[in-house]
Subunit: 342 residues, 2 copies
């Protein structure tokens, strides 16, 4: 991947500050869950009630452990680094570690951190800020294979599904790379492009850069963003779909989601076969052989009995593997993907 993508160096120290609860520490916990081999430790303020299970480190221990990047693994209230975290982070920057965060409020706008980074010689990496030099997409067909997560809406499990499918392909010794399109995904993958922060004219170009030419038997598993059905973000989703030129899509859905988020009820989510049809129709304008390899549903609201009935019914309706990526796993979708890809 070239210089137009964000790139983080491991090993990581996950910084948690005094994060008040698990929900706000999802980013750090996700990195530790999906990339334990990159996470050497965690650092917290004394009052922090959250523990993501990594070895506790001081600055001296972090130096000894060869930490390269301190990742702020918390989504704080207000979308910016709290004032009282800054002295510790500035000290880490002054020690030469890269500092990475994915908040709206940027690291490079905090003078004490800039001073620390200047002293230590490391980078301040705002994962929401797209790299410079992303080109306009050219629609040229690329070598290698690609599968893109497509959602019925935002926040229905596209990132989780992509990571789980990537892990399943790895388990089978298939050549595969997870391609991250959002800030948490980028921190997990260690590289990627925050596609929704790119200027509109460059959305598909960013997707093209993210997933370059590759070996004919290599699979890029691409994290989706937004949804073609969500009027707030559909442009991002279509640019990503065309720039990714996927061989296959996986539809991601949340069984509890009956209407587009925050639409106030006027945008019900259509039948899933219609959603698949829409996405394939758009995808096939660029890559005629694109097919749907399955449906990945968050069914965490259901008990095992209801989940079985729900997924079986969906599977017989659609004629596609339908799974919950946590409860039942991505194996049936991986089977279908590998069986039917040209």
């Amino acid at each position: 991947m070239d210089l137009t993508t964000i790139s983080l160096e491991s090993p990581y120290l996950i910084y948690l500050g005094d994060c008040p609860d698990k929900h706000h520490a999802k980013t750090g916990a996700g990195i530790a869950h999906w990339r334990p081999e990159h996470c050497a430790g965690q650092m917290r303020l004394p009052a922090c009630p959250i523990d993501i299970g990594l070895p506790e480190m001081t600055l001296q221990q972090a130096k000894k452990a060869g930490i390269r990047t301190v990742i702020v693994g918390v989504a704080p209230m207000g979308g910016r680094i709290p004032e009282h975290w800054i002295p510790q982070l500035a000290e880490l920057a002054a020690a030469g570690f890269d500092i990475a965060a994915g908040m709206h409020g940027k690291l490079v706008d905090i003078p004490d951190l800039v001073a620390g980074a200047n002293e230590g010689g490391g980078r301040l990496i705002d994962v929401r800020v797209p790299p410079a030099g992303i080109p306009v997409g050219d629609g040229r067909l690329r070598s290698g294979k690609r599968v893109l997560m497509v959602g019925t809406d935002c926040g229905v499990g596209k990132k989780y599904s992509a990571l789980a499918l990537h892990r399943e392909l790895e388990r089978r010794d298939i050549k595969t790379t997870f391609r991250a399109t959002g800030q948490t995904g980028i921190m997990i993958a260690g590289e990627g492009i925050p596609i929704d922060s790119v200027v509109a004219d460059f959305i598909s170009g960013a997707a093209e850069v993210l997933s370059p030419d590759n070996d004919a038997d290599h699979w890029d598993v691409i994290e989706g963003q937004g949804s073609l059905l969500n009027p707030s973000y559909s442009g991002v989703s279509l640019g990503l779909l065309h720039g990714s030129q996927p061989d296959a899509i996986v539809l991601c859905h949340d069984a509890e989601r009956l209407e587009i988020d925050e639409s106030g009820g006027h945008l019900p989510i259509p039948e899933l076969d219609e959603v698949i049809h829409d996405a394939l129709q758009m995808a096939r304008r660029l890559r005629s052989q694109c097919f749907c390899a399955g449906v990945s549903v968050n069914t965490s609201s259901m008990n095992d009995f209801d989940r079985d009935i729900y997924l079986s019914k969906l599977q017989s309706e659609l004629g596609l593997p339908c799974v919950d990526p946590i409860a039942t796993g991505m194996s049936p979708i991986a089977n279908f993907l590998l069986k039917y890809a040209l």
Copy 2:
């Protein structure tokens, strides 16, 4: 329209520098053609061979004529103001006129112009730079009626078609506003948002701001951008389609265009009924009554006889009015639009 749109004050002085040919003066000529009532004069360097037919003005005459904005009406080679135009433009800025341009190279990055504007107190308006504060779209249905130009590709006459339809509606004393989404359109309309320069997450939000709630019998005629079929810009087009929530679309096409521009032949333009079907399918997810009011085709490559045959055949195939906006005019599309809008 609120502060999140660009807005120019008339009367205009169109600045042509020493523009070498008509093609590069299209912007200035377009403003003079569509908004003669806003154009008080033109200013040129002595060597300029191009004349767009406005009264020639000196700085003194411009002051007397009450000029408010000097618009650089040229798309120069290299996308930036040539060095030897800057002294004259800086003098105009120092005289207090706003200076507006739509190039990649920004006015605000030219120190002599900034100094001039500081002295004169006017603005430097880079029409490609979107205003701050554009919100994320919310998909709320708005009052008033909207018709959006949708293209088979980029550069097929969407702006011209929108302006011609707007003029036709005005001629019939229908309440109507042309809504500009690109730099030339913004200079013609005097306001708008360069939708392809907005950050991806805000595309549909920009379209919502551009076309706010209005009287129930008011028609916004919205300039399109890109094409759902063009893999470089489809994200912009879908965000604009959803943010515009049109009651109707007009398909714009160039009869000579057989494949997507710069696709190297691997992306033929589908049959027009398929293109209409795709666009309506996406539009109706948000606004179920959306319909196609006709097809506006650039047939400038044909003689009258061939044009008649081409448009008649298309019309009988599609069951929709099919026109050339210059050769035959937009009246049949206006009739269809007004007859079938709910």
